[in-house]
């Protein structure tokens, strides 16, 4: 049941990714709806998988790289649905679902056993810290996807290449607005994740801040997004610059998420 639901979710996300790529690279009308429907199917199985894991493990299924990647992807899809409902951009799915699929694919390469939660994680802080962190990261992921859409559209407008994908991408202002909204949504969440993390660290390890690689890279990420917001408000860094920065910010998120766990030794190696 657990494996089946995961595989089905993976397959649906894969299908959505392929159709998304077709929509981006080929002239075609009306694929956005199909992507959305397939993504909903994937999301249903994905949610079922998380529920199964929750009952089997007895905790929010986010410990270990397999669960963490999967949960990360799940948060992205959830926020994507909300944005699609709110803004109806259509082609956005073609840019977001590939991110989801890659996360799920990487999740599938990690050991999938449901292990009991290690004692150090069995804390009141666990759920709060995790939800803040993942919701924040997920909105940064989508901000990066929307940022990429902005850069493409901006390039087409400047270079005056006005057929094909240009026609299917929405206007610059809405892309910039969504990008900004996502960062203003994600930034406080990341801030709260860091604060709750520090409080938790104090109660678990006896110190708020230990310059652990995960902490350091989270701080780097936080600084990047703080800079994005500061420059926009203070200097009018909107549009292209904001889009580029949001992509850089997401690279930092990815490194914090994967790089630190896989390359550096970290106290956070359990998640």
């Amino acid at each position: 049941m657990e494996i089946l639901t995961f595989k089905l979710a993976l397959i649906f996300y894969f299908a959505a990714t392929i159709i998304g790529l077709i929509e981006i690279f080929r002239e075609s009308k009306g694929l956005s709806r199909l992507i959305l429907i397939i993504a909903i199917c994937g999301f249903i199985f994905h949610t079922a998988n998380l529920i199964v894991r929750y009952y089997a493990g007895g905790y929010l299924p986010v410990a270990g790289m397999h669960q963490a990647s999967s949960f990360f992807a799940w948060c992205i899809v959830l926020i994507f649905f909300f944005l699609e409902y709110r803004y109806k951009i259509g082609i956005m799915g073609a840019f977001i679902l590939p991110i989801v699929f890659v996360l799920m694919l990487s999740s599938s390469t990690f050991p999938r056993e449901i292990i009991p939660l290690s004692p150090v994680l069995q804390s009141f802080w666990f759920n709060i810290h995790i939800i803040f962190a993942f919701a924040g990261n997920a909105s940064f992921a989508i901000a990066a996807g929307v940022g990429l859409m902005y850069l493409l559209q901006e390039h087409y407008l400047k270079a005056k290449r006005l057929s094909g994908l240009f026609q299917r991408l929405p206007n610059l202002q809405i892309l910039d607005e969504i990008n900004y909204r996502l960062i203003t949504f994600g930034f406080p969440l990341l801030t709260l994740a860091i604060i709750t993390g520090a409080l938790w660290a104090e109660s678990a390890w006896g110190g708020y801040w230990r310059w652990d690689p995960k902490e350091v890279w989270s701080l780097v990420t936080w600084l990047i997004y703080a800079l994005v917001l500061h420059l926009r408000v203070a200097k009018g860094w909107r549009g292209k610059k904001a889009a580029v920065l949001s992509i850089i910010g997401f690279l930092s998120v990815l490194f914090t998420f994967f790089g630190v766990n896989l390359l550096l030794r970290s106290l956070h190696s359990f998640s």
Binding site: K158, L162, L172, E177, W237
Partner: protein, 429 residues
């Protein structure tokens, strides 16, 4: 019976010929009545626009009616047949159906995909309908032409992209800004094309309008026209800080807006996007302005290129549209075919009624004082018998089977029904 189209358009005739053959106002009224009066023609409608004149008709015989329509045209418009004969095209049968569908779907237009022609076709047929010059065939044809055109419109992107410079400008603005309402707009200079583009922007909800003209009085005049306000030309740089869309068309011999100036303006407007359209020749805005972040500069050639690619795009979509037209022609063909059985069905029913009435009459003559109540019952029985007897052949006729033509012939022979003019006679009345 065949549908036929005789006409000329912008491709086959120059405006000299087109205007001489046009049916305007009173002429249409008169012309369509005279056409209907021609003995060869049973239904007729006339489309007359600035790009085409076409006569749609239902006629017994294509070549005869062709000749008499041409004679009519020559006489009616007092123009020698030789003067317009070469410009005419002629279709009959399904080719004419296809032609009408293509015209309605704007595939035959000068600018493929333009929306006006469908309205003109509707008007032409409505006029004919009011004058009672059309019947079931042409009315059905018009209905199908309209639905074919609508399918083409919704299922292809034939009408999606702007094919005029001023529309292209509006379309581009909509790719930069979320909505145009509430955006502020400045017209720099004047000129026909600039004013047209300005009107399109206003129609799309641009609210704050400023006009800067070298001659302040002219600027005031234009500003009144656009419901905006005039700005002194020397001040336009300052105004740019609060302007989102600019159309520039001054007669200046060189740049009135340089990159350095625009950079300063952008900084002051905190890099809020600005869309600059420079349609002046020589150019009035430094082309390097386009390299500034969030400033989008398009000149007249850029816009023309947009228009050209859009026209190409429409041609690609036109291929998809042709397939839809094929399907719709097929549907109409089926409907026409189903019509063939109608006269036979009617004749068969009439024949049966005739037999029934004849026999009942004989019975009444034989028993003049038969109980009226019982007579009614006998009549009912007779009706029931003939209905049951003719039901199977009727059902077979209504069915769309492949061998229906044969079936029609066989049924006619078996029941002794002669001729197939029943329906024509009715329609000709």
């Amino acid at each position: 019976m065949t549908i036929l189209v005789l006409g000329l358009n912008h491709k086959t005739a120059n405006v000299n010929v087109r205007e001489r053959l046009a049916f305007n106002g009173q002429k249409l009224d008169e012309g369509i009545t005279k056409l209907k009066a021609l003995p060869e023609i049973s239904e007729v409608a006339v489309l007359s626009t600035c790009n085409r004149v076409e006569i749609y008709a239902l006629a017994k015989d294509a070549s005869n009616s062709l000749d008499s329509i041409k004679n009519f045209l020559s006489e009616f418009h007092s123009i020698k047949r030789d003067d317009f004969d070469k410009a005419l095209y002629f279709f009959s049968g399904l080719d004419s159906v296809r032609h009408i569908f293509r015209v309605a779907s704007s595939l035959d237009s000068m600018i493929v995909g333009e929306p006006q022609v469908l309205g003109q076709i509707k008007e032409a047929f409505d006029f004919a309908l009011n004058k009672k010059t059309t019947g079931i065939i042409l009315n059905r044809l018009m209905k199908n032409a309209i639905s074919a055109a609508k399918r083409v419109r919704t299922e292809t992107r034939i009408a999606e992209n702007a094919v005029s410079i001023s529309f292209a400008a509006v379309e581009l603005a909509k790719k930069i800004f979320k909505e145009l309402s509430g955006k502020s707009f400045m017209l720099l200079g004047a000129g026909e094309m600039a004013e047209l583009a300005a009107r399109h922007l206003l129609n799309n909800g641009v609210t704050d309008v400023k006009v800067a003209n070298r001659t302040y009085e002219r600027g005031c005049e234009l500003a009144r026209d656009f419901n905006g306000r005039a700005v002194r030309f020397e001040d336009f740089h300052k105004e740019l800080v609060n302007t989102d869309i600019v159309i520039c068309s001054t007669g200046a011999p060189d740049y009135v807006l340089k990159k350095e100036q625009m950079q300063k303006i952008m900084k002051e407007r905190r890099y809020k996007p600005v869309f600059l359209i420079d349609i002046s020749v020589p150019r009035n805005i430094d082309p390097d302005v386009n390299s500034i972040d969030n400033a989008y500069l398009y000149n007249i050639d850029d816009l023309q290129e947009v228009v050209d690619t859009n026209i190409l795009e429409r041609k690609k979509e036109a291929e998809k549209a042709e397939k839809i037209i094929d399907e719709e022609v097929g549907k109409f063909e089926k409907w026409m075919a189903s019509l063939d059985s109608v006269p036979t069905i009617v004749a068969l029913r009439e024949k049966a009624e005739e037999i029934k009435n004849e026999e009942l009459e004989k019975f009444r003559n034989k028993y003049p004082d038969f109980d009226a109540e019982k007579m009614k019952a006998i009549e009912h029985v007779a009706t029931a018998i003939i209905n049951k007897l003719i039901h199977p052949p009727m059902a077979a006729l209504k069915e769309n089977s492949a061998d229906r033509d044969e079936l029609i012939a066989v049924i006619k022979k078996l029941y002794g029904i002669n001729g197939d003019d029943t329906w024509e006679r009715k329609n000709g009345e």
